[in-house]
């Protein structure tokens, strides 16, 4: 699992570099907030910061990484999901759903993750624009790889199945870490993975009683 680390900082910085980086992150925060995750481009953020787009790519790599750094996310949720999916071994010891719940709990309990997540959620509750930004980020970086795990179905159905997975996981995070509802807040990760993992398995692979309009 890759940390969100500023590249090129190992050997010390050139004078003015940290100022440039801060200008880029500040421009990114404004632009993501104003136009959302989808429509914000590295080119536009670079223009706002008065630097060359190549420098933004050099410092931050991808848009996801720039977003995560700007929002002070200590790790990339998309990489956590991808890593959980690729490290899964269908050896019968745990199901894919159990493996994903366990990975999510480990991720959320890393220093700084929950604070950032709750900050984004607070913004989403306060403004439709922030909700759109979070929706787009979650859809593109977290749910898209989950949807890919719902094999053998059409893209629209895969997206529906991934959003059901998202609903359970978002609810788990809120119930455990915000409301701190006793039994869920104090349960250990293994117990929760066994209880909730099969829900994810079912959302990804079972018949959901869905009757599409045409076939």
């Amino acid at each position: 699992m890759t940390e969100v680390r500023r590249s090129g900082t190992r050997g010390g910085r050139r004078p003015g570099e940290s100022h440039t980086r801060e200008a880029i992150l500040s421009a990114a925060r404004v632009r993501f907030g104003e136009v959302g995750y989808d429509r914000a481009t590295i080119r536009a953020i670079a223009a706002d910061a008065g630097v060359d787009p190549a420098l933004v790519h050099h410092f931050y790599g991808t848009k996801e990484r720039l977003f995560a750094t700007a929002m002070r996310l200590p790790a990339l949720p998309g990489e956590v999901v991808t890593s959980a999916l690729s490290s899964f071994r269908a050896d019968g010891s745990v199901s894919l759903g159990e493996h994903m719940v366990a990975a999510a709990l480990t991720f959320w309990e890393r220093v700084g993750v929950l604070e950032t997540f709750l900050g984004l959620l607070r913004s989403a509750l306060a403004s439709e624009r922030a909700a759109a930004m979070l929706r787009e980020f979650v859809s593109e970086t977290i749910l898209a790889p989950v949807a890919a795990a719902a094999a053998d179905v059409e893209p629209a159905e895969a997206a529906y199945r991934a959003s059901l997975v998202g609903s359970q996981m978002l609810g788990l995070a809120l119930t455990r870490y915000v409301l701190r509802l006793g039994p869920l807040a104090s349960a250990d990760a293994g117990t929760l993975a066994r209880a909730i993992g099969p829900t994810l398995d079912r959302y990804l692979t079972s018949d959901l009683g869905h009757r599409p309009a045409q076939r």
Copy 2:
């Protein structure tokens, strides 16, 4: 399903009555916010408002109803849950879980419910005190009747099962109404009930792979 209606308002009010009611609701908001749902008493709220506790009971009945009115909830979630549970008929057409999901969606989509719920959640994200108030209200009025539906298990396990149900339902509300994630936001209620209902059924009645420390 009972509306949260101010009793005794049909035939007009005595002079000063609306002032007294407002003083009670205002005192209730302050006290619920300060000491939480559990520890706020009608006696203390009456004292804060400078009225007799009997008058608070006369105007608002129960503590739950006073809370709901003070927080501008247009209906009592506890009554919605109890009503959904008692109106369920095990005739094989739908499962208890499907019936509960459908009832929740109907409730959330009533005018004013979502706004109040999101306001409470926003407060819970901003302050631990508000989170405690919401946690206690949800536990006592919503999860307690759900736990009663998890028959034939010990109270601690029933509370755990109810909190799992709560996590899925809270996540559904957030994904559908706040993040508005496409597939979940646009799915019709029947489709969602068929997809999510069996999750609730499993949380309430199936083996969750839980291995208690002693037996």
